[in-house]
Symmetry: C2
Subunit: 121 residues, 2 copies
């Protein structure tokens, strides 16, 4: 057993121009550091934004708290709220914003297959 914390106090804001008013608390080491999966809690403050960029590997964004909007390859924003998730394919351009604040889990891994219902997995 090892323990770690991912609460607000554990979060930090990396010097990444794509991240605006976003704090991150990692659960895993990064893909670059050799973990097979990269998982982190992202906290978007009011007006927070993860600017448009391509997914390096298949990705899931799951909203834990709050509301926001996301877009994929076609650039159309759709609202998203707690209890809802979105998946982006490898290479897909995507973007995430929140007016009122939003806490999300982001999972990234080669070979990640999203859940498609009880009959299919």
């Amino acid at each position: 057993v090892e323990r770690l914390t991912f609460d607000e106090r554990a979060a930090f804001s990396p010097a990444d121009p794509r991240l605006q008013r976003v704090a991150i608390a990692p659960l895993t080491a990064s893909l670059q550091a050799g973990s097979s999966i990269q998982a982190a809690i992202f906290r978007l403050a009011t007006g927070g934004r993860i600017a448009r960029h391509p997914a390096t590997v298949p990705q899931i964004l799951a909203v834990l708290e709050g509301t926001g909007r996301v877009s994929g390859a076609d650039g159309t924003f759709e609202p998203i709220a707690a209890g809802q998730a979105v998946t982006w394919a490898q290479g897909e351009e995507h973007e995430t914003e929140s007016d009122d604040g939003m806490t999300v889990l982001i999972l990234e891994a080669e070979g990640l297959v999203p859940f498609h219902g009880r009959g299919s997995s």
Copy 2:
């Protein structure tokens, strides 16, 4: 972009004797179904329990809501609450319980490396 939901209505209770008063909402397909990572939201109701069993691959349990207790190889339970996570090594026996209810994210993957602080990843 694909969407999925993982809220309480999307959760189901598998016929698994290790799961007592536990409902699961998957984010990914299972390892057996070919996903490289298995991620799901587990909702333990009051008195809920995931009975002692070994981790098949490295695992992280991150508490999103509520409180409970977890044990690892030595069988000693320690309290855990929202914002805290625990990692179990491949093969490590472990157990999770909650008196008052707890919602957790469970991540399982070969090659998963837990986060060990900003200097180390």
